[in-house]
Symmetry: C2
Subunit: 211 residues, 2 copies
DNA sequence: CATTGCTTGACACTGAGTGCCACCGATAGC
DNA sequence: GCTATCGGTGGCACTCAGTGTCAAGCAATG
């Protein structure tokens, strides 16, 4: 359902409208706060109708969350292409680096991402949606990890928990990145966060016989 | 704000109303599904007014989530009273056992909790709120862990991530508990889940110098 | 009996999200 | 050139969540 990435004729117009909506929304929400800005404000700023907004975004939260969380497929693909012998901690670190790579390479994009991260972490409704999206990521990561390790995800808690730990690392990185006080390099923060969970991610399998 | 547990005269009536509302809501939501049941349906079943519902619960989600997540203070207290020399994994396991203890001891309460867990995990909106509540737990647990370990929670990612891993273990336990196919003992599930994260929880501190 | 305080119900209101239909522009076929 | 069709859009009305406000009801106290 995402396979039509470049139907140049009409698809480009759709993308244009979506970008316009997104930009107007992000601008308003980030400066004025999530709760006080209504969808009417957003569409007024974008010069479109309220109804159109909901054709492109499922909810007011969706505009913000999708800006960060639109790349789940890329993450899974990256994890699937890591060498099977690679330790889980390394493979997961590389997989979750995918959505961060753009921020790290392009400082101008990075600054806006920082604002969005701050907005999400500071707004309970957005934080909830963000976590909801992470749930999907976790399920997909867990399935792929089960694939890699040959474990049964229904009887062994490892795949799900490993995926959860990786996302916890990502969450911690974002939380420590968003203040922006000093130049906290994303790569360094990722290394630190994954260093904490690595002992559990790479521990020798002993889960089924824990009783 | 919770210090008035037994102002016997009027407080008991308040509790009665809250229970009535909660029971009606849980019954309807669990049987018919979260989305199709409106607040009007709930208050009609409870024989009260719509406005009263929102005096007792902040939202429709709140009724369900509070049923499980009303015990954060007890968890922190339990963690704070664990012996300082105890490994983090053991202390956290005991702390997070507190909200589960009631379910484990009283099978009749346990059955309803199972239904609520299933409802939460199956409903995205509820799951998101549940995780949002866990964020608060994580912050409180992290603060207490920083206290125990003497680490600075602003510079060291360990406290926050340790709290997150413990809650991830809890989440995994609930997810594996709710199918209820066979008699999965909560204690056993907790042991298995914590066995996965223990290597990271109890790893020797090496986080600040990871770069 | 009057007052004070707490709870409730009713009403109105904002805002999110959806369904429906009419409109508009472009493209394809006669 | 006229028309049928198709994707996108705007407008409208609707449901439902959640909030503010006010007028009771009802207990305890003077």
């Amino acid at each position: 359902m995402r396979a039509r990435a470049d139907n140049s004729l009409a698809e480009r117009k759709r993308q244009l409208v979506a970008d316009e909506l997104r930009d107007a929304a992000l601008m308003l929400l980030a400066t004025k706060g999530f709760d006080v800005v209504t969808v009417d404000d957003i569409v007024a700023a974008a010069g479109m109708s309220r109804r159109t907004f909901f054709r492109y975004f499922a909810s007011k939260e969706d505009v913000v969350v999708r800006f960060l969380a639109d790349t789940s497929a890329d993450i899974i693909t990256e994890l699937a292409t890591r060498p099977p012998a690679e330790p889980s901690s390394v493979a997961l670190r590389h997989a979750l680096w995918v959505p961060l790579a753009a921020c790290n390479d392009h400082p101008e994009h990075s600054e806006r991402a920082r604002v969005v991260v701050r907005l999400i972490l500071d707004t309970p409704a957005l934080h909830a949606r963000w976590l909801e999206r992470q749930i999907e990521w976790r399920a997909e990561l867990a399935a792929e990890l089960a694939n890699r390790s040959g474990l049964d995800p229904h009887t062994d808690p490892y795949p799900r928990m490993a995926a959860g730990m990786a996302l916890l690392a990502l969450d911690t990185v974002l939380q420590r990145w968003q203040p922006g006080d000093d130049e906290q390099h994303l790569a360094k923060l990722m290394d630190q966060a994954f260093a904490v969970v690595a002992p559990a991610l790479d521990a020798p399998a002993a889960s089924p016989a824990a009783g």
